[in-house]
Subunit: 239 residues, 4 copies
Amino acid sequence: MSASTEQEDALVTSTDPLHPANLISELCASFYRLGWVTGTGGGICIRTHDKVYIAPSGVQKERIEPSHIFVLPYPQAEPSPHTDRIFLRRPKLNLKESACTPLFWNAFTIRNASSCIHTHSQNAVMATLLWEKEKMFRISHQKMIKGVRIGGNGPTLSYLDTLEVPIIDNTPNEEDLKDSMKEAMEKYPRAAGILVLRHGIYVWGDDWQKAKTQTECLDYLLEIGVKMKLAGLPTVLNI
Amino acid sequence: MSASTEQEDALVTSTDPLHPANLISELCASFYRLGWVTGTGGGICIRTHDKVYIAPSGVQKERIEPSHIFVLPYPQAEPSPHTDRIFLRRPKLNLKESACTPLFWNAFTIRNASSCIHTHSQNAVMATLLWEKEKMFRISHQKMIKGVRIGGNGPTLSYLDTLEVPIIDNTPNEEDLKDSMKEAMEKYPRAAGILVLRHGIYVWGDDWQKAKTQTECLDYLLEIGVKMKLAGLPTVLNI
Amino acid sequence: MSASTEQEDALVTSTDPLHPANLISELCASFYRLGWVTGTGGGICIRTHDKVYIAPSGVQKERIEPSHIFVLPYPQAEPSPHTDRIFLRRPKLNLKESACTPLFWNAFTIRNASSCIHTHSQNAVMATLLWEKEKMFRISHQKMIKGVRIGGNGPTLSYLDTLEVPIIDNTPNEEDLKDSMKEAMEKYPRAAGILVLRHGIYVWGDDWQKAKTQTECLDYLLEIGVKMKLAGLPTVLNI
Amino acid sequence: MSASTEQEDALVTSTDPLHPANLISELCASFYRLGWVTGTGGGICIRTHDKVYIAPSGVQKERIEPSHIFVLPYPQAEPSPHTDRIFLRRPKLNLKESACTPLFWNAFTIRNASSCIHTHSQNAVMATLLWEKEKMFRISHQKMIKGVRIGGNGPTLSYLDTLEVPIIDNTPNEEDLKDSMKEAMEKYPRAAGILVLRHGIYVWGDDWQKAKTQTECLDYLLEIGVKMKLAGLPTVLNI
């Protein structure tokens, strides 16, 4: 092992359970148990002041180890046909960074987020199907709305606010969601997440705790919204 | 660290797994796995003879550590515009006590409870929606009714009793539920818990074991009640 | 601690994870996670050649410790108004043996079972409601039927057999189910379990493994049966 | 213990958590928690270059130990009325190899798979009932389709592909599924799994990771497909 590689490995090696490389491994295993990231899909990325930690693409998310994590410098210019994404560390295994990387980056650049979560929760997918025509999931008068922040990074919503989560169309390649996600984030600055039709949801936050707890709140609201709709109950009250 | 702080920390430091500070941490993690306290909501408080142990507000309930716990003397006068709540110990972190504190206090003062649990269980929320007009969840002829105590602190109900759990309206601020919860507890002295519309449930007991097992029984009954109602089965038999 | 007590404690003290006292603790915790024994209800008892191991009544089933277990000699005469049940060991705590004891005993004496399980699974309760009129749950043409033994202790059923589980009425006191359970077991000698209306199910087997795996098969069949009925699919095919 | 037995035991003894005998034990316990292999049914087999590792029949799948595993040489001729299946190692206990063995072998010989998984997931069984007439489960326009490989061992499907999983009739004896499974695999070379009516699903892959993640993707798609059908939503879009 060369000295440079040892330096790179140090970026993901820590006894601190709150180190991003350890957290990503632990949280992905926890998300697997929730049914959010089965079949290698979904995950979480974490950004510190000047570094981004991202899991590999196409691996079992409940079996990630810290040594599998990619580290990228932040900020950096978008990769283009003529430039590559810059890495501080790539895992030794034959791995590629998560296909969600450009989507996670949207959360960093547009909302200054420090963490972004992507799930394939069936609650999210069912909601995109049941609210497909409106292209917007809406629910009001639920206590759990208070756990969601305006824009994902602002003050929390009030119980009297109606939660709105835009639904964008899916694309055959995950990376190609980048522009429509960006567009939806700019068109709906109060949205705390973006639903992707027949696919899942992206949620972000100022730190991993806020990203995670907002994902839990949104998933709860999507689940109860789907149950209410199937039971014939309106999810938005006009009172 | 000053001597007084060491004394304060001793209030939540114990190798006994049944110490309230340890129990709150463990039970909240268990409730998280049941889907009762996701998104930082809900929790449990425990009162010993002269002390109340309460978790912080707005934290991930499955990651609470004993050092995060607040300790308050009991009894104490209600805080008013001119008086503050009195604490024996506040965690060093920048934390506020659970917003459920005044609601938990209702259970202590009105029913002499030693523990109170608040969940956002979707079974509870769905029941408040399906029994919204009656402002009362009712179910009869279920074995699990026998696990619920009259008033939450009396003898257990019989299989032949009809369980009734009042539903109060939600308020934008959790603290503002205090008066309507108190009113419902006094109007329905046999009720073992209070449902909050579009929000969740409060359940109490003579000790943490009784509070927890009654919460399990009520959650079971809310779940089966919702299933029965959606399947077109009556939840109360008049026989 | 007297010598006799030490002798008694030895009955439930073992480093062998397959000792009945250890198994009951472990299996009850596992059943709790399946939602079978929440709210202190339900459980499992295990009989060796000449001893019966039974958990206490009214305790949190996921927190049982081997030292909480009752040990009884087997066989023994039924307790009557003039005779008491005989114990080899009672836990020191102020505990009473499970209220299921006479029901478990039915399985020992009528079917020569060595283990009996009682659950409050919602699949069982929903099935008793949806098949209430027939007083019999029936399902055919399901692979899982092959995991169920005729009478609970005979050869396994074939895929071509129709599974039938009788439903008896519930009684306010668990003990009072004894006679109607006995009657149903004798009337339906092929039944591998007895459903109790609005309450749960009793399942037994030649050993704890067979009792447990048959409970899993029956619970699976009750769950899929309820799903099929609610989806308008017939659970019995006449072909 | 004879020398030869020690040699045989060495085949299933390893401190490497990724050794097939260790993996089968761990993965079966994980599948149990997903509800895929309760009641002793279902499981996973793993093939290395020249050996096949298979769990016993009729045992609790969440309690398998590496010492319970059968090892067979690969390739070998099919057993016939005049020949027996050849083993490199049989566990000492009175055990028989999984009844799925000939079905797993189909995956090895027809698709050159190195691992095959069989589940009794209720999502699979409900799908076989709801798509019984078509004898084919079909779903399109779901992100999770991208996790499934053409034929189970080829390139992954695109979001624009329609997933098709054939449904074969069940037989009273598991072994008798061998020919109809083979027939379906040859008739539908693009199928990544075979559903068995009122029974479950078989899924395979180039290695255990691919078999497992494809089983997760297919199970997800079966679950969402059942939900969509019951909600009146079409699972295939013609656009």
